[in-house]
């Protein structure tokens, strides 16, 4: 797993950092997935940008929030339980590039959330060299 996709605002981050490359992160993710506080995701990357798919079964799309702030993508929401109780879940990712804010899209279908985030086209400028 690449470093930039590590989930942030993770209370175990210090441990993760100490453990370095050891896949403790997998273990950590698995634990929180079990508790229902952490949606599982598939992340796809290309030249054009990122696509994130998250499992949000049983979540009312109105209670689902997708926020992008300073290159951090946060997916959070509220899952209603059978007994009327609620579980909140949240997961954040560091994004590896500058994004095109206006073209971010999010859609929910059959309990799967898909967020597509296009990369901002890099502005290439040639700098003229003055002859002195």
């Amino acid at each position: 797993m690449r470093a930039y996709l590590n989930t942030i605002s993770n209370p175990w981050r210090v441990f993760d950092e100490l453990m370095g490359d050891f896949p403790f992160d997998l273990f950590d993710t698995a634990l929180r997935v079990r508790a229902g506080r952490f949606p599982r995701v598939n992340v796809w990357e290309s030249e054009d940008g990122l696509a994130v798919q998250a499992e949000v079964a049983g979540v009312d799309p109105e209670k689902l929030d997708v926020v992008i702030d300073a290159n951090v993508l946060t997916i959070k929401g509220e899952r209603e339980q059978a007994d009327g109780g609620r579980t909140e879940f949240q997961r954040s990712f560091n994004l590896p590039f500058e994004l095109e804010d206006s073209k971010i899209k999010a859609a929910v279908k059959n309990g799967l959330l898909t967020v597509t985030i296009p990369r901002k086209a890099a502005e290439k400028r040639k700098i003229a060299i003055e002859k002195l």
Binding site: V41, N42, W44, E45, A57, P61, Q81, N110
Partner: protein, 125 residues
């Protein structure tokens, strides 16, 4: 060629991990409500069968693949959900209802008339 394709598809199906979906049952006065979490499963991929008071659910999820993208973080497996529920004798199997919403399959299992709670009027003597 088509045979080849079909066998490839079969292999893919066999390779799916089988999982028991998360489910819960609630008892109401009139009916039981059975909720099964099936994220990423579309309606037509859900198979519901009832045989000898055993309600079976089989479903397969569909994950989107993005063309020209590479998968960099993979936590969602392609799975086949499978679950079977032994229905109690007093469930009226003819009027079971199923709904599909937000990745949840919600089944309403009405109780037979004779087991529903009834208020008995008291006549003044």
């Amino acid at each position: 060629m088509s045979l080849m394709k079909r066998s490839e598809q079969n292999v893919q199906k066999v390779n799916r991990v089988e999982l028991t979906p998360v489910s819960r049952v609630q008892e109401g006065e009139e009916a039981y409500t059975l909720t099964v979490e099936l994220p990423g499963v579309s309606e037509k991929e859900i198979e519901l069968t009832l045989e000898n008071k055993v309600l079976s659910i089989t479903a397969e999820n569909t994950l989107e693949t993005f063309k020209d993208y590479t998968l960099v973080l993979n936590e969602l497996p392609e799975v086949r959900y499978r679950a079977a529920f032994d229905l109690p004798e007093h469930v009226d199997t003819d009027s079971i209802k199923a709904a599909h919403k937000n990745g949840l399959l919600i089944l309403t299992l009405p109780k037979r008339e004779e087991v529903k709670p009834r208020r008995i009027a008291i006549t003044a003597g």
